[in-house]
């Protein structure tokens, strides 16, 4: 078991402490609430507890059993076996935040490399050690922008094609900031031209948030938008799917001030939505406004290279109420996973996976578009996701697909009530041509039914 003491040891220890019995350690606890009887199931042994969760797990259907075309912010990619193999090293996962650098160089070097990899991928200068997920990274971008303008600019403009959950979380966080508000135009027609956002940008605007590829999978060059946003003195944040950056021009080249993103696509299992990985990159001049941890390279007294947490004076345990973020525990192990994933795939591998996603998605889109009653809505380049207009409501269609072993796309009306009969289909390297063809076969059946 996990509490090692024998009765004899407990007795010896109590004696050393100078009390008679264990209960004597708890006399500060008000008697009327002391030692409550907890109404919980009796303890299981390890083999029983594992059996119990095994039964729960097998009550699910998973993307391993089904052909998965569901994305909308979380993707079923292949994770090379070496990733988890390394994550399982107790040295990594049972360590704490590297506050003692002399005995934490493993974690620190890994984060430093993570920062470097993500900076390279996004085309930015500075990356922090992670946020909880893509949504909270967006929120932190908002908070950063708010404080960058010392609270004087209060308008946050979120693209209607920003992942709706990112917008929700941004709203939750912005609530606490005096007078700030999140504006999302065109929610009823979210496929509108991203340049439409610009009409809202003014000298009250702190931040404009767009997504790349956007929630609907579309890819836009945001250079012109960046220019206009900067003209208004505001900041531009671009939320990315980092895997797509294996292929696509990085937002750093568009003039993004902040690049945030959901790192799950970089080797993390779907895991029912978490733990995921919030990416946060920015320009060097904004580094002191960045929340979360930063690892910097330095030297010890013998000139050996080493790594430390740096600029810690920004953090909440030192700045206390003046801190702009309270983040403390982050997603360190997930950042490590992403670093290992990117190291394993490297330059060629990431490009290859991104291209596989691209080609397979385009193959699927073309085939689906040929099916009577289905129409692919594409008026711009897309990466690995696209919208399909369906002849019947998406939830009905998805039940039908499920019967055939297919996890269908995201029902857009859940987030955009106007978008009825619109399914967001995601395709990754995990979808074989056979799976795509099967999907089309089943859609064809629906079309004929």
């Amino acid at each position: 078991m996990f509490t090692p003491h024998t009765e004899k040891e407990r007795a010896e220890m109590l004696k050393t402490i100078g009390v008679d019995k264990i209960e004597d350690l708890f006399t500060d606890v008000p008697e009327k609430v002391r030692f409550p009887k907890l109404d919980l199931p009796e303890a299981l042994s390890e083999m029983e507890a594992l059996q119990q969760v095994r039964e729960l797990a097998s009550a699910n259907e998973s993307a391993q059993d089904l052909a998965c075309f569901l994305g909308a912010g979380a993707y079923h990619h292949y994770t090379p076996a070496a990733v988890d193999n390394l994550l399982r090293r107790g040295e990594f996962y049972t360590a704490y935040t590297p506050y003692q650098p002399e005995v934490s160089q493993g974690t620190l070097q890994a984060i430093f490399e993570f920062q470097s990899l993500i900076a390279g991928l996004t085309g930015m200068e500075v990356t922090n050690a992670s946020h909880y997920d893509g949504a909270t990274a967006v929120a932190e971008a908002g908070i950063m922008a708010f404080h960058h303008f010392r609270g004087k600019r209060t308008k946050f403009i979120a693209s209607p094609a920003l992942n709706p959950q990112y917008r929700d979380v941004l709203c939750t966080y912005v609530c606490g900031m005096g007078g700030a508000q999140v504006i999302t135009p065109n929610l009823e027609s979210p496929l509108s031209d991203p340049a439409d956002l610009l009409s809202l940008v003014d000298d009250q605007t702190a931040l404009v948030v767009v997504q790349y590829p956007d929630f609907f999978g579309r890819i836009f060059d945001y250079s012109a938008i960046a220019e206009k946003v900067h003209e208004a003195g505001a900041l531009l944040a671009v939320a990315v799917n980092p895997l797509s950056l294996g292929l696509l021009k990085p937002p750093g080249e568009f003039g993004a001030d902040i690049v945030i993103g959901e790192g799950q696509s970089l080797g993390l299992p779907l895991s029912y939505g978490g733990p995921y990985l919030g990416l946060f990159s920015t320009r060097k001049e904004l580094v002191r406004k960045v929340a979360g941890r930063l690892v910097g390279e330095t030297e010890d007294k013998n000139g050996n290279r080493g790594y430390v947490l740096t600029l810690t004076a920004r953090e909440q345990h030192i700045r206390r109420e003046k801190a702009t973020s309270n983040i403390c525990t982050n997603q360190g192990l997930m950042a490590l996973a992403a670093a290992i994933y990117l190291s394993l795939l490297g330059k060629n591998g990431l490009r290859k996976v991104a291209e596989l996603c691209y080609h397979k998605a385009h193959y699927a889109a073309k085939k689906i578009n040929q099916i009577k009653g289905f129409k692919v809505l594409v008026d711009s380049p897309f990466f690995n996701e696209f919208i399909v207009e369906t002849p019947i409501p998406v939830d009905e269609l998805n039940l039908y697909l499920l019967d055939q072993g297919i996890l269908g796309g995201y029902d857009l009306k859940k987030a955009y009530p106007n978008m009825k009969n619109a399914m967001l289909v995601a395709v990754t390297e995990m979808n074989s041509r056979g799976e795509i063809d099967l999907l089309c076969d089943v859609l064809r059946e629906v079309s004929h039914a």
């Binding site: 919980l40 292949y78 049972t94 160089q105 949504a135 330095t298 030297e299 525990t329 360190g332």
Partner: protein, 487 residues
């Protein structure tokens, strides 16, 4: 050994993991949108495995030694949890799957909600927050939403004892509150007189850490809570120290209105070198409509033969989402298994032994180390790392010298109210033998401090690097490998 970075190891053209060629006709790439360079390293699988294996060895970890880091609850993380969280039926489920296909996950979350409520004495649980700090944020936002919903928009003042956790002031301020510090009395409790004086109709609430960061149970907690409640304020409980209270006292029973849990402390999910955590919150009934959502509920009652159908519900006046999806699910699986393996008696044993271990170490070193608030502590205690006889030696030196004895240092310089603080939390999973060796080391170091202070000042001696130049790090600000084009 100095380990190169992955960039230094990179060789142009080297291939890591291979992927298949497309099995579909290809489509021209989008013009003008394709990147020209991709500054990623090029390594073989062996390069990568060896690199991360070797740097991992430079870490101290629970699996390799005693980690008495105060306030962090570095207990042993049972290995079965790792198996459980990796079961394909969990690991490969997509958060947007139809709820009918995911009843195993929902049942687990529902039961975990129930269990956490029972353990803590709360009425409703939101599993969504990703970490303790986000739990705090969610809890304090819940308090804010409660007051606003009642039209009490003037309640802007959040009290924070100076023995509270470090994140508390930042959290309060993120939620738009003004913070007022409440001092600690000579016994290590919140000063009730000061507390009373700070209460008025602008009071939003108080953020209490109990046991507080001195490791002490607030002796006046019930009175303190009554004072706040009488002023119309709510009590936020920082649950980071819950490992002292399992089966000992339920925060809800003490009168606390809302609290976060750290599944990665109390319920043994691994700390991961900094995360992920999981920071659910529990609230009393009056706050239930405000918590982050969605939460798991029974959508259709079950019967003897048919299990209930679970689904998601958004609390009526929810503060909204605090993150995507439903929280750090894989951490919930681990906590679920952990609670299952303990049951009511096992949970109490955890806290009993956590408290026993802290008091045992305290008893062994007390006197040689000054323990400023000297009474029975809970799961941790705070000593001073300083002696007049060894003026140049600081808590930091003691911490670093412990590394030479193969122990992880305790938390130091926290809480701020103790001079040269050493905050020691042994946790319940450590054996008497380990505690004895640790106390021995502390006592030897106390000797060394007086007789051979250089041993401490130069420590640690056998680590991959010595003490690092933090000033240089902040000045040079090298945050990325210099081998990168953007750097």
């Amino acid at each position: 050994m100095r380990e190169p970075t992955i960039y230094e190891m990179s060789s142009p053209g080297r291939q890591g993991v291979r992927y298949p060629d497309p099995d579909v006709p290809t489509t021209p790439l989008p013009e003008g949108l394709v990147r020209e360079t991709l500054p990623l390293p090029e390594l073989s699988e062996l390069d990568v495995v060896r690199h991360y294996t070797n740097i991992s060895k430079k870490n101290y970890s629970i699996d390799s030694g005693f980690y008495p880091l105060g306030s962090c609850t570095m207990k042993y993380n049972p290995k079965v949890n790792e198996e459980a969280a990796r079961l394909p039926g969990f690991a490969f489920t997509h958060p947007l799957q139809p709820t009918e296909t995911i009843q195993g996950n929902l049942a687990l979350m529902f039961e975990l909600q129930q269990w956490l409520a029972e353990i803590s004495g709360f009425d409703a649980i939101s599993l969504q927050p990703a970490a303790g700090a986000q739990g705090e944020f969610s809890g304090v936002m819940t308090i804010r939403a409660y007051h606003l919903h009642r039209g009490d928009s003037q309640r802007k003042k959040m009290l924070i004892p100076d023995s509270a956790h470090g994140t508390n002031p930042a959290t309060a301020s993120m939620c738009g509150f003004e913070t007022v510090a409440i001092p600690t009395d000579e016994k290590g409790n919140v000063d009730l007189a000061a507390l009373k004086a700070a209460c008025d109709d602008t009071l939003a609430g108080i953020m209490l850490t109990n046991p507080n960061t001195l490791g002490l149970f607030e002796q006046g907690i019930i009175e303190a809570i009554e004072i706040v409640h009488q002023a119309g304020g709510l009590v936020y409980g920082d649950g980071a120290n819950l490992n002292a209270l399992l089966g000992i006292a339920r925060p809800g029973d003490l009168g606390i209105d809302v609290m976060h849990f750290n599944l990665h402390k109390t319920f043994s999910t691994p700390h991961g070198g900094g995360g992920p955590g999981s920071g659910p919150i529990g609230v009393k009934q009056h706050l239930a409509p405000f918590i982050p959502g969605p939460v798991v509920t029974v959508v259709e009652e079950g019967s003897q033969d048919v299990p209930p159908l679970f689904g998601f519900t958004m609390p009526e006046h929810s503060i909204g989402r605090v993150k995507s999806f439903f929280g750090n699910f894989a951490m919930m699986v681990r906590a679920y298994v952990y609670i299952s393996m303990h049951g009511p008696d096992g949970l109490r044993t955890i806290s009993e032994n956590a408290v026993l271990n802290a008091n045992y170490v305290r008893a062994l070193v007390n006197g040689v180390y000054h323990v400023p608030y000297d009474r029975i502590c809970m799961h941790e205690f705070v000593a001073e790392g300083h002696w007049n006889e060894a003026p140049e030696v600081s808590a930091l030196d003691i911490a670093k010298r412990l590394i030479d004895y193969n122990f992880h240092p305790p938390t130091n310089y926290f809480p701020l109210i103790v001079h040269e603080a050493l905050m020691i939390e042994p946790t319940e999973t450590e054996s008497k033998q380990t505690l004895d060796r640790f106390a021995d080391a502390l006592l030897k170091i106390a000797e060394e401090a007086k007789n051979e202070p250089a041993l401490l000042k130069d420590a640690p001696h056998n680590t991959p690097v010595g003490r690092l130049n933090e000033v240089k790090a902040a000045k040079d600000l090298i945050l990325c490998s210099c081998d990168l084009p953007y750097g």
